[in-house]
């Protein structure tokens, strides 16, 4: 029978624990500094030893056990973590009553509270513990990784077995609740792969997603996580360990200012390499988590009813593409190897229907889909426009394609900006995610412009030049290099010369309006004339840049597009519109000509691609060839109002 004991001085014992922790984190001069994994192992050993000795002092016997949960149970305790502990007992076997068991619990972890070693501590019977797991699936999930520290190991084995079966059985009724909690967690912490300052624990692709994957596998609802998830777990834990060791506190968000040092501690070249590795890890975990959640639902125990076993209805949202069990997949007759547009058709359908793409479909496309030859057929461009015009739903689709290696087949230039940390601290996203965010915001502004198709492409490509190595920063500004790349991409996409010129001009001048509005007097006629001259008097280009500027700001960080900024930009645009030549050049934007309706909507559903009609347009300027020398044209006007040269 267990009984509370006076034992050694508890406060001294807690102090000894704190001193030992401090020595591990800050070894005395001349001692070896432990690497992140060795440090975690040492912390686990230290706390286990401390708890075991206290349990021995408390004379915990049969029918009672000290159970570790959380990081201690998983053996991945990071610095400054709290200890989640449970004293579990069987009243009949142990002979303990609630009051005595509480006293034992207090004797065990009471000393931990004074020095500020946090965590959750509880005392309960096996029945009470299982009941808590039934009512809250998060508690149940935590129990799946429980581990005996001291006491009766058979009791803990029994507890874990009951908890696992109960959690699995009850998950069917709690699954939507659990999924909603996970989505809320993702919404709050963001996406690890694409945040400049990623949250390592709660984000989509973070450590709690890995715990979820392990829990689903333990409950035999999914396969064991793949090797890439295990590797991602090790990397994220290493970053979290070094971040906490360096900051000296329980911090889980990696600030940009600490990333360089953490990269150094991990033996990486710089924060750019750390960001890329962390983003790759986060993307792998996020993809596996999304797939596991979809896979777990069908694997859940189902009630026996007339509806059970009935196949779910199929819909055919596009040629060769079907919607089945809430996913986009291929129909049985589709031959991916013979259909180069299929990747974009699947992507556009997924974005339009807001449904995920089936994993098997992604694998088939990755293995069999042929390359799209340049110039792309009009249908491919139309599906790309549909995808880009789908708003926020497009972001997940592109990320899914990117993880499967399909997006880089369409846009090889994407590789240079994938998971790239932006140079500007105002950005919250990596460069690739920023482009997608801007595209999603631009989709909401398409009704304001005459050429929504160009707006969407411009949004997708406006920062594509960021991946260019900055060997000569003053002359190879990312806008210039982006314009060069956009010329290549637009040619591959099959754009007409006129559209290609407009698109490269958008990328080339996408910072013209915000830069001019904040650095030059918008009421000075010279300012407006400078902008108009730079844009060659093209009102449609001004209109596109106006919308792109807003989308760019909105896609940079929340609250970047403020009333302050909007007022400045809108004032400048109004003055520029007044300074524009009265008649727009007729050869640049044939969609404005009579008979075309003057308006282009993205998407194949609105008829044949209007871009196809433009391939014969002539007389347009071709900015790509002028990109380098064009740098002079962005030079600001003199502030005294004299006409710029």
């Amino acid at each position: 029978m267990a009984a509370a004991s006076s034992g050694p001085d508890p406060s001294r014992s807690a102090e000894a624990l704190l001193r030992a922790r401090s020595r591990l984190l800050c070894p005395p001069h001349g001692s070896r500094r432990l690497g992140p994994e060795a440090l975690r192992t040492a912390l686990v050993d230290l706390h286990e030893l401390w708890l075991s000795s206290r349990a021995a002092d408390a004379r915990i016997g049969p029918g009672t056990a000290v159970v570790a949960l959380g990081g201690l149970a998983r053996r991945d305790l990071v610095p400054h973590s709290g200890l989640d502990l449970l004293l579990v007992y069987d009243p009949r076997q142990s002979g303990l009553d609630p009051a005595t068991s509480l006293r034992i619990g207090q004797a065990l972890w009471g000393p931990l509270r004074e020095p500020g070693i946090g965590g959750h501590h509880a005392v309960s019977t096996v029945g009470e513990t299982v009941q808590a797991a039934i009512s809250d699936p998060r508690d149940g999930m935590g129990l799946l990784a429980a581990r005996a520290i001291a006491g009766d190991p058979d009791l803990v084995t029994h507890l874990i077995r009951v908890a696992r079966n109960t959690w699995r059985d009850r998950l069917r009724s709690h699954f939507d609740e659990l999924a909603a909690e996970i989505r809320a967690r993702w919404a709050g912490a963001g996406n690890l792969a694409q945040r400049v300052e990623p949250e390592l624990n709660n984000s989509h692709g973070g450590l709690r997603d890995i715990h979820l994957l392990n829990a689903l596998a333990t409950a035999e609802l999914t396969e064991q996580p793949a090797a890439e998830v295990t590797q991602a777990n090790a990397l994220i834990l290493d970053v979290r360990t070094e971040l906490r060791r360096r900051s000296g506190r329980a911090r889980d968000t990696l600030p940009a200012q600490d990333a360089e040092q953490v990269a150094h501690d991990l033996g990486l070249a710089d924060r750019v390499e750390l960001t890329r590795r962390l983003s790759d890890a986060g993307a792998a975990v996020a993809s596996a988590t999304a797939a596991a959640l979809r896979a777990a639902r069908p694997g859940l125990p189902r009630p026996t009813s007339a509806a059970a076993g009935r196949p779910s209805p199929c819909r055919r949202p596009d040629h060769g593409v079907i919607e089945h069990s809430g996913e986009i997949t291929l129909d049985g007759h589709t031959r991916p190897g013979r259909d180069p547009v299929l990747i974009l058709r699947v992507a556009a359908t997924a974005a339009r229907t807001r449904l995920p793409i089936d994993r098997g479909t992604l694998h088939r496309l990755a293995e069999q889909a042929p390359e799209l030859r340049a110039p792309w057929p009009a249908a491919a461009l139309a599906y790309l426009q549909t995808l880009l015009g789908s708003g926020p739903a497009m972001i997940n689709v592109v990320q899914t394609l990117d993880v499967a290696g399909l997006w880089a087949r369409l846009l090889p230039e994407w590789g240079a900006i994938r998971h790239l940390a932006p140079p500007d601290p105002a950005h919250v996203w990596t460069v690739d995610r920023h482009q997608l965010e801007v595209c999603a915001h631009a989709a909401a502004l398409t009704a304001r412009v005459s050429r929504p198709d160009l707006l969407l492409l411009g949004a997708l490509l406006h920062d594509i030049g960021r991946g260019h190595p900055r060997r000569n920063p003053p002359t190879t500004h990312h806008c210039h290099h982006g314009a060069l790349l956009t010329g290549q991409i637009g040619h591959r996409l099959g754009l007409s010369p006129a559209d290609l010129a407009a698109l490269t001009a958008m990328v080339r001048h996408h910072q013209l309006l915000p830069h001019t509005a904040t650095n030059h007097n918008p009421t000075d006629p010279a300012t407006a004339h400078h902008v108009v001259d730079t844009l060659d008097g093209d009102p449609i280009l001004l209109e596109l840049l106006h919308a792109l500027t807003e989308a760019d700001a909105r896609g940079t960080a929340p609250r970047t597009w403020t009333t302050w900024r909007a007022t400045l930009i809108n004032d400048l645009v109004r003055h520029c519109q007044q300074a524009m030549p009265t008649a727009p050049p007729r050869d640049r934007h044939p969609s404005d000509q009579p008979g075309d309706g003057g308006f282009r909507r993205p998407g194949h559903l609105q008829g044949p691609s209007p871009l196809e009609e433009l391939t014969h347009s002539t007389g347009s300027r071709f900015i790509l060839d002028e990109a380098e020398e064009d740098g002079l044209r962005d030079s600001p006007p003199p502030r005294d109002g004299s006409t710029p040269t």
């Binding site: 904040t518 007022t567 109004r574 519109q577």
Partner: protein, 112 residues
């Protein structure tokens, strides 16, 4: 110690920043603000329609400085931000009792 606060036109910020750097001022806080003074906003006419613009975008600059530098800082800002047209802004000072540098805990003029 004094806090020098200036409200200036946004496009004059770079000139003010350069002027302060020439004086040896090593730090400042810049905020995007909106408001109006004697000009009471203005109206814009575009394509026959009149738009009322009540709050004009401005930039607010806060500079913490020692008493011996305050007049030079005020003069530098006022000179750099001047265009001679309505809406150029204002500069004012307020006394500051205590300053603490968060990173080191230094206080007073040492924290400037």
């Amino acid at each position: 110690m004094q806090m020098v606060t200036a409200i200036v036109k946004p496009f004059m910020l770079e000139d003010v920043k350069s002027a302060l750097e020439r004086l040896g001022v090593v730090g400042m806080t810049v905020s995007e603000v909106q408001g109006y003074g004697r000009q009471k906003g203005h109206t814009e006419v575009y394509r026959g329609a009149e738009y009322s613009v009540d709050f004009i975008p401005k930039v607010r600059i806060d500079v913490l400085t020692g008493d011996e530098m305050v007049d030079k800082v005020v003069e530098a800002i006022a000179h750099a931000a001047r265009t001679g047209k309505i809406g150029d802004g204002k500069v004012w000072t307020t006394p500051v009792e205590t300053v603490v540098r968060v990173r080191t805990g230094e206080r007073g003029p040492d924290a400037l």
